[in-house]
Symmetry: none
Subunit: 220 residues, 2 copies
DNA sequence: TCCTACACGTGACAC
DNA sequence: TGTGTCACGTGTAGG
């Protein structure tokens, strides 16, 4: 970093009073003529060195920033910042995903949260009941032993299926073979299951199971 | 953004042959005198406008970057980048912490051994991975558009399937028709899906999707 | 040959 | 009356 400019004391140019509106949108251009040209003072090498320091600092920060991102597409300044932006967004997504998963995993051992988060669910429920009017439907067929075959139709909603699975599992239904098809906002789940919690004298209480399933589906 | 410079065709200055070594450490100064002053050609307004565009783009990126970070200390360029650096490091720390905690929580169901000697657990884990050898398996077939058909085999574990569903959903896979069968501790999921997050010029990156799915399955 | 990206010096401001 | 920051125009190296 050696500069042979001394930059102080001699000037080869004078201030040209040409078009003076500088760059940005609305600068209050006052043309105050800060410099005292009679004394030849206000030497600009100070400003020069400060500017050099500033640039170097900024460049260093950019390098540090680039060193953090794993996906490096280019050395260009602009792409460095772009990569940083993308990386930050990716990291934010990861954090959100992991956080959600962690909370979900923490809630799991206590079966279902009773209070839960009321606001979202409420609005969703209102929308659901008002708008589409897709009627939930549940059928249960007895297959012998504690085996049943169940069919469930409900309205498609984000995360509803996974919650249904969890609810089924926590109520003692063990699904073996299941198939899911979705069409026009409705979901049909058809499955073979073992109903371990609903056995009365070696027979599954089919109607009870059906009502339980219906309650589960509607409550989610 | 209005400039009253036209900058093309007229020059008020000549090239002064003064000290020519410019800024950085070792520039091979050749002083080639690129410009043809006889013809008045090689008008520099192109370069000027390009430079303006570059600056504006860079400024925009900086603003975007600043918009991402929650802790804004200053509007200065340098501090914007500093904040971004700190924020990225913080996010990385969060991801690492959450990931660790998640993995720890996943191992918990196996740690309910009554004796509680850590050796056993370790050997158990090793035995598990060695013995059963249910290899995760992922296949992805391209069906046109952004539709894919996926097949996933993994070892049955409590809550794993619902977590898989959520992960798929959060990574942009929208399952339409899927069937699940389980046998001897293994689960086979076969499904049609829309891969909305992985479209490159109207084509789905199949191999990427496969690797992503494999990572998801293994990480859960 | 042109085009892109960069660092530089400089005037204008804002504390 | 200074110090720090900014955007600007410009020369120059590489592609």
């Amino acid at each position: 970093m050696e500069y042979q400019y001394l930059d102080c004391g001699f000037e080869g140019l004078s201030i040209t009073e040409d078009g003076n509106v500088s760059g940005t949108v609305s600068r209050t251009v006052k043309r105050k003529s800060n410099y005292d040209y009679t004394s030849g003072h206000e030497c600009k090498s100070k400003n020069l060195q400060a500017e050099r320091r500033r640039r170097q600092k900024l460049s260093d920060r950019l390098l540090t920033l680039r060193a953090l991102a794993p996906r490096i597409t280019n050395m260009k300044k602009e792409t460095i910042i772009e990569d940083a932006i993308n990386y930050i967004q990716e990291l934010q997504g990861n954090v959100k995903f992991l956080s959600d998963q962690l909370h979900l995993l923490e809630m799991e051992p206590f079966s279902e949260a009773p209070g839960g988060s009321p606001k979202k669910e409420e609005t969703d429920d209102v929308e659901e009941t008002n708008k589409h009017m897709i009627q939930e439907e549940v059928e249960v067929g007895y297959m012998g032993g504690n085996k049943v075959q169940i069919k469930i139709i409900f309205k498609k909603k984000r995360g509803k299926f996974t919650k249904l699975l969890e609810a089924l599992s926590s109520f003692g239904f063990q699904l073996s073979d299941t198939s899911i098809t979705s069409a026009k906002g409705a979901i049909l789940v058809s499955s073979f299951a073992e109903a371990k919690g609903l056995i009365y004298d070696d027979r599954v209480a089919v109607e009870e199971a059906r009502e339980l399933l219906l309650k589960i589906v509607r409550s989610i």
